[in-house]
Amino acid sequence: MNLSVNIAGLPLKNPIMPASGCFGFGKEFSKFYDLNELGAIMIKAATQEARLGNPTPRVAETSSGMLNAIGLQNPGVDQIIKEDLPFLDNYQTPIIANIAGRTKEEYVKVASQLDQQPVIKALELNISCPNVKEGGVQFGTDPTLAFELTNAVKAVTTKPLFVKLSPNVTNIADIALAVEQAGADGLSMINTLTGMKLDLSGKKPLLANQTGGLSGPAIKPIAIRMIYEVRQQTQLPIIGMGGVTSAEDVLEFLLAGANAVAVGTANFQDPYICQNIILQLPDTLSKYGYSSLKEVMFDSCVNPSISL
């Protein structure tokens, strides 16, 4: 079955990609399977300077999910270009670079540097990391700031620009429409939801950062609802994510209005998860009466309210 899809001018051989922060820069997972099998790879967030991230513990398991407060640890954009991108250049798989920053200037600087890299095929603007005091989410919760930032980054790149939305808002469609007006070529959603877990014996938060971002199957219904809501208001391509662990989940995201699907937390439980989902997708689509990915898209994107 032909699984290829084109999102914002970016041709993908299948709609499945690992989500940012859950796959590093690919090297570790390349020991399990050929990264060329993936539709795309979303790499870990890059900031201008190296960041050390938050103190540990940084992760905690919750029912059907996990909390993380990594805090955007990364070696900085120069180092990423020098040390991590050359490895990814060995693959044909399109690389989508995730960008974070404290200020509009930082985002613009990092974006323009990554825009110069031939191996990077699209940018993902992370305005939704809940785990740093300054580093994005202030831009992701205010439509005006989201508009200004998207606009400024769009001005320095010729590559497709996806804006990664935060679910920690009252009306996600407002933010989606603001970044669309600012020139975003697509959306990716959702980032993690702010949560907290207490350690009963220590009688204090389990994560050193106190709060963390909730991901995994626990947030899937929220992701589906938000993608469905946003799909009613815009035709922008959407990379959907949040709790995907199976080909059935992928179909659910596509029907809700996503054009491609990213897998995050599930990579920790099963390092082969993206490969397995890609293998199972054709059978799953046939099981529900589809003979191509395009048919699913037609059902959902053209008229989502009828199909559901």
Partner: protein
């Protein structure tokens, strides 16, 4: 590193809340070195999204099995404790850098273990005792929590301490170590507080620490498990650069 379905061939309670399990496989046990760990998937559905890192306490290459010792502290480890012979568990491993033991010959080596930090030292003790004089200081909370005393006694001069004084030496492992004379090298594994005191107490000899941290991926991709290093070298990843590290390189 391999993802393999491992068969439970033994699982029984060893001490207070502490279980010993033997797991058989084809490839993973053969590859395992002392100090490495395996990352075990918990349950069949997506309720438990994070694997549990468990250190390898022993390897039997003929039987193609590894031994792990774990403490029941929550739902995940409780699930492990209810596995029966013949059940299968999905294991990823062996992971991380273990102890480098070959370089030691004719040395006087100290092993310091606290609680579930004791198991990885057993496999190390077996290897080290072939060519060295090994002393083991093993700390437990209370007498019911003690395990592997006789196993260690067969290969090392073994001292047991308990926090509540219900067995062996009453008090902290560091107090006992101070009275034991001198060593050329030490290996330690246990709670962070213990490692920190041992690290400063034995700063004049070569030491190795086996670190523990909450993990996500277990393979170096998610940055959940970092530890700060000296000399502005930034962070190391415990799952990939550790769990065994040079004691003088890390800030606990």
């Amino acid at each position: 590193m391999k993802l393999e379905c491992l068969r439970v061939i033994e699982n029984h309670q060893l001490a207070l809340d502490t279980y010993e399990m033997r797991l058989q496989g084809e490839v993973l046990p053969i590859l395992s070195q002392p100090g490495q760990f395996i990352h075990l998937k918990i349950g069949q559905v997506s309720e438990f999204m994070l694997r549990r890192p468990v250190s390898i306490a022993d390897v039997d290459r003929e039987e193609k099995s590894i031994t792990i010792i774990y403490k029941v502290v929550g739902h995940g480890t409780n699930w492990l404790s209810t596995r029966i012979i013949g059940d299968e568990i999905d294991g990823l491993g062996p992971l991380g850098n273990g102890f480098s033991l070959q370089q030691h010959k004719g040395e006087s080596i100290l092993l310091v273990g606290g609680g579930v930090g004791v198991p990885p030292l057993y496999y190390a003790a077996k290897e080290l005792s072939k060519h060295n004089h090994v002393t083991a200081v093993l700390g437990f909370q209370t007498s019911e929590a003690i395990f592997y005393e006789s196993e260690f006694s067969q290969i090392a001069k073994t001292w047991i301490t308990t926090d509540d004084g219900s067995y062996g030496y009453s008090g902290l492992v560091t107090e006992l170590i101070a009275s034991l004379g001198s060593f050329t090298t030490y290996y330690a594994c246990g709670p962070n507080g213990m490692l920190k005191s041992v690290q400063s107490q034995l700063s004049d000899i070569k030491g190795y620490l086996s670190l523990e941290e909450r993990m996500g991926c277990g393979i170096g991709a998610c940055l959940a498990c970092v530890c700060q290093t000296r000399c502005n070298k930034g962070y190391i990843k415990i799952c990939k650069d550790g769990p065994v590290v040079n004691a003088d390189e890390v800030i606990l």
